[in-house]
Symmetry: D2
Subunit: 357 residues, 4 copies
């Protein structure tokens, strides 16, 4: 439920306005140099209040290492990372106690458990992803040492879409703008649109693309834990994600078999590749050595400041107007979360694969 | 790896041309009337050779109950179902021993394991889905008793697309034609296109839509085992599936928050619903009582009869021309598989939810 | 690895001299009243420095609730409990950096991981059991509400053995003495022996007996997760535990089938029981409604102040003399740990059993 | 429930008088030579009707490989082994339909599931261990290639006890007699006693000792999956097992710390060992390179031909006299089952340990 992964297995905990959020990583290999500054920088990428297109809410995200690191290295015992909650204006949320916000999980949590921590969304809050980014940063440390990199970026906001493929883009530009789009022109348009939508009290969704380079052949487990199935689950479990496609995904439907198949070829040095990569680096659920890429759709943020019809806890019709500082568009902040979940999947598959070595 | 589900946990086994394919279901509730004829009819829906748009290969799919049923009822012990392989013309496949088929998992299996049963694709063959359909049929028996139904249909083949929503369609028409499309006009077009493509020696992909009715509020587990994340994994694990979206999925990006949010309302009898259902029946990963629906993209079948560039097991460039009887379009036959995987997810979530009752 | 249980699943973390020790409980039912004082009292029972027969080391065991409790009740989300480490005299342990203590896991951890937190034994320290007692206390809260009680006591220290069966003892006397033995006379002898052994710089082991009352019929899962198999694993996983037996255990070998079988009988009100209970409340791995009881052997504490032969990290022969404040006999302090692990098993089995209800 | 192991994960299925018994092994490494004759010989060791001290019931135990082996080697895909049931005289068992046998799981299964296959004990029958022996044989193939051997023997039947340690015995003698005791004199006494007890219509239990040689340092996972905790669970899950102890187990209570600690020493070639092995090759739950040994207690067979008091399915008092061909003592036949379960644990731990390599 709150765990993910088989060998590199994380368990996350914490509510938006509880004491703390954190993660226990069980199965972390020993002797990894724990790069404190890198974890900090990853957390910072996720943090709200980074720019005028994100929420102005300030969250302190100082993290602590509670266990599993000794003299700067992982020990193979459970590695626990935690962030305390500080900026908790719980009183803001008292009005949400008895009314269910449309698009949120207030109603479903209440019905499932008969109780919920309604302050800031409690466990359903996107603040839970702090724990994912912490764990993902640890996975990235290891993957980097194995020559594997993961880069995600915003490829669409509402109707503004990157037409170029990732191979035509300069991925070094991703972090150069606040919307995390590697095309500077499109980035400007996206930012302008988000700013305008914010004024309207409305919100926007978008698409994130993600590219993994350096993965060797053999990652992924048949038949249920296929690499892209596990990636799909990982990404779809992120708040607001509604769609996932590997390689050319839904577009593959518009090609015939003879067009869609990726022909193999061997270089003079017997290195094997495919001429095209419609399959996104995965064949039969196992990585084939090509770049792994996928896209994910994020719906617009459900917290809008416009008045909405809804019901209350007594099942009566009412209206709600959500106040507070919310993101007009959370997609740019979801970029490091997509990377983190991807890192967790690759890390787990890499360790699972050791059995065959 | 070859298991799926937490409480209702299936483990499948078998190769395309090995002795048998089967499934062990651990965690099946006792005292379910085992409907032998229903399982048979579900298997038949998946079977090749059903029509001239599927492969003419005949596969005997007589199944046996090896354990877990006593006097016509499940006993709560492992329920094992098995189908023997009979129509094994393994010699047909000898030429595939040393050459990797583009789009298939020959290469990735060989690299991962250093060995593979190359006859008919071995474990990577879509014949493995026989086991999924068997298990799904058992899940469906139970779900039916709980008032839950699952219906999938073909909503797109190549460029022929159903424009109507599922609410505007007569889902009783799905099984009335060989392409499993509830719109008879579109069905005819699809069939004609598949027949023509077959003549060309090429293949087509498509989209399957799936609707679940009758699911109560509360199915799905935060935060990683969200209902749609688990559905996504289940569906993406089906051979040739490249994309998954819940509710309006990628389309949700084209709506603003105020348009995409589903307003709650209460009836006079305090029954709660949402005015729209853009979220596809899931909020925060938990079912909200509305219909659950999703779409999945299937790439065109990789086995084409046209000549293709590829490599052999010695990493040399070569070409391949695949013979044998293959599906020009496997999407219609994937319909019962999509339903089976969906049933497995709902069944597991239903049992997991018992903890809260 | 560091998780235990299927439905009520705990993950513990922390090193003896790291920042903190704690536990995340995933799958805790919602709406349990969280009895803060009860958890505190359970922790206190495990605490060192309770008496002159335990170590004089003082450990602060103030615990914090980090997540999963809202307005005094569990919410169904991960429940995290943590104790900070304070009394860390790490310098005491510097001499253990390069020398392996006999009977301890210094050597095996070092060999397995290539690194270890040697301060106070790190993760192998019995201080880890703080987390088990915390989790066990939560399980006990729930079990109590279901009418299930668990009571463990010391039934043997070295050669001083309780000859009476638990049915002949007054279990209310257990906590009346520092050795946790319900027979006051034997308790005195045990205490005297421990005190004398302490003066000798030596240590003692013993046996703990445990009785569970109120468990209904049906707990335990065939065939591998039998109730007593899972209890065995749980108890054997406690530091220094070397043996486990359910019911009359090894003694059953001295009876013939006709003597050992427990005859069933029905009361006038159709309540079913067995005339004897040699099986310890378990038949075929499933509770039969009788009292569940078992015994566990604990070896003497490995930390003795006498000089011992050993090796160092360079694989050279050397000697070691362990200083510091160690328990001459840890068995009395293991009593609440045995209860905690038992509670975790029963809790998990109780929730697993809900599927059949 | 019916699965065991994390990486080398087996799932068993089947009832005593159902269609078949079998096991799916998921996570079996590829490219292991599958030694058909070895599996056959292991099955034969477990088989009833081997001698006049076991049941005269003949069970056909011809096994089939259903999947996972190709051209004589494992492929890394699920390996399924199955034995058909043939000698099913179900009518013999009709009288057991409504009466619960003392010492058996008839009552607990019926209460838990509300249904049971009463023929021959159904799933609770010791015939289920056929599947364990099949899986264990596969594990043994691999372990052997790693230089690890497992040998179990009968060290006690009723009051006839081997006084010698395993180091003083010739383990090659184990299979030289039908009681599987390496001391020929004691073996004769045991056989005579069993024969006499058979005439009395009664049954006997005993103790099995098991020795594992060649295991390297590092097997076992802290803190819950300690090597001896997992072995304890594995062995306690075998039918009729009531106690388990590692190393000197309950005897360790009779030693002081200074006597019980195993001093380390290094040879001239820096090979490390311990001077004694009271801990049975495990320190802190991790193998230390010494021989791993343990003992397990088995209660006398519950099926006796003497008349017994019991109840029927309507909760009425009645008596039962069990007919049919039952083992007067099942301990010798449990020897290969103990070895199989041990092999499964070591195999799983070996594969888990690959993460650290």
């Amino acid at each position: 439920m709150n765990s993910f992964g088989e060998i590199f297995r994380i368990t996350t905990f914490g509510e938006s306005h509880g004491e703390a959020l954190g993660v226990v990583i069980d199965g972390c290999p020993p002797n990894i140099h724990f790069d404190f500054e890198f974890v900090k920088s990853e957390l910072k990428r996720r943090k709200p209040g980074q720019s005028n297109i994100s929420t102005s809410r300030i969250e302190d995200e100082t993290f602590e290492v509670l266990s599993g690191v000794f003299e700067g290295k992982t020990t193979g015992t459970p590695l626990t990372l935690m962030v305390r909650n500080h900026n908790q204006k719980s009183e803001d949320y008292d009005k949400l106690k008895d009314v269910f916000r449309p698009g949120h999980a207030d109603f479903t949590y209440q019905q499932k458990y008969g109780i919920r921590d309604y302050r800031g969304g409690g466990r359903q809050s996107a603040r839970e992803t702090v724990a994912r980014v912490l764990a993902g940063a640890v996975a990235k440390m290891y993957l980097k040492s194995q020559g594997i990199s993961i880069q995600a970026y915003v490829s669409q906001i509402y109707n503004i879409k990157l037409e170029k493929e990732y191979t035509e883009l300069d991925l070094n530009q991703i972090e150069s703008n606040i919307v995390r789009c590697p095309d500077p022109e499109k980035a400007k348009e996206m930012i302008a649109l988000i700013e305008q939508t914010k004024l309207e009290g409305d919100t926007l969704g978008g698409v994130i693309s993600c590219i993994c380079k350096g993965a060797s052949v053999g990652l992924g487990q048949p038949v249920f834990d296929k690499l892209h199935a596990q990636l799909g689950k990982a990404i779809l479990s992120i708040n607001a994600c509604k769609g996932f496609e590997i390689g050319n995904g839904f577009e593959s439907v518009n090609l015939k078999g003879s067009e869609n198949n990726d022909a193999f070829f061997a270089n003079d040095d017997k290195h094997i590749g495919t001429k095209t990569n419609h399959n996104g680096g995965v064949l039969g659920g196992i990585s084939n050595g090509m770049e792994i890429f996928f896209r994910a759709a994020f719906k617009p943020v459900s917290s809008i400041s416009k008045q909405q019809d809804t019901i209350n806890i007594s099942s009566e019709n009412t209206t709600i107007q959500i106040e507070g500082r919310h993101d007009p568009c959370a997609v740019p902040r979801a970029v490091p979360i997509v990377e983190a979940m991807t890192a967790l999947v690759l890390m787990d598959m890499l360790l699972r694969n050791k059995m065959y070595q």
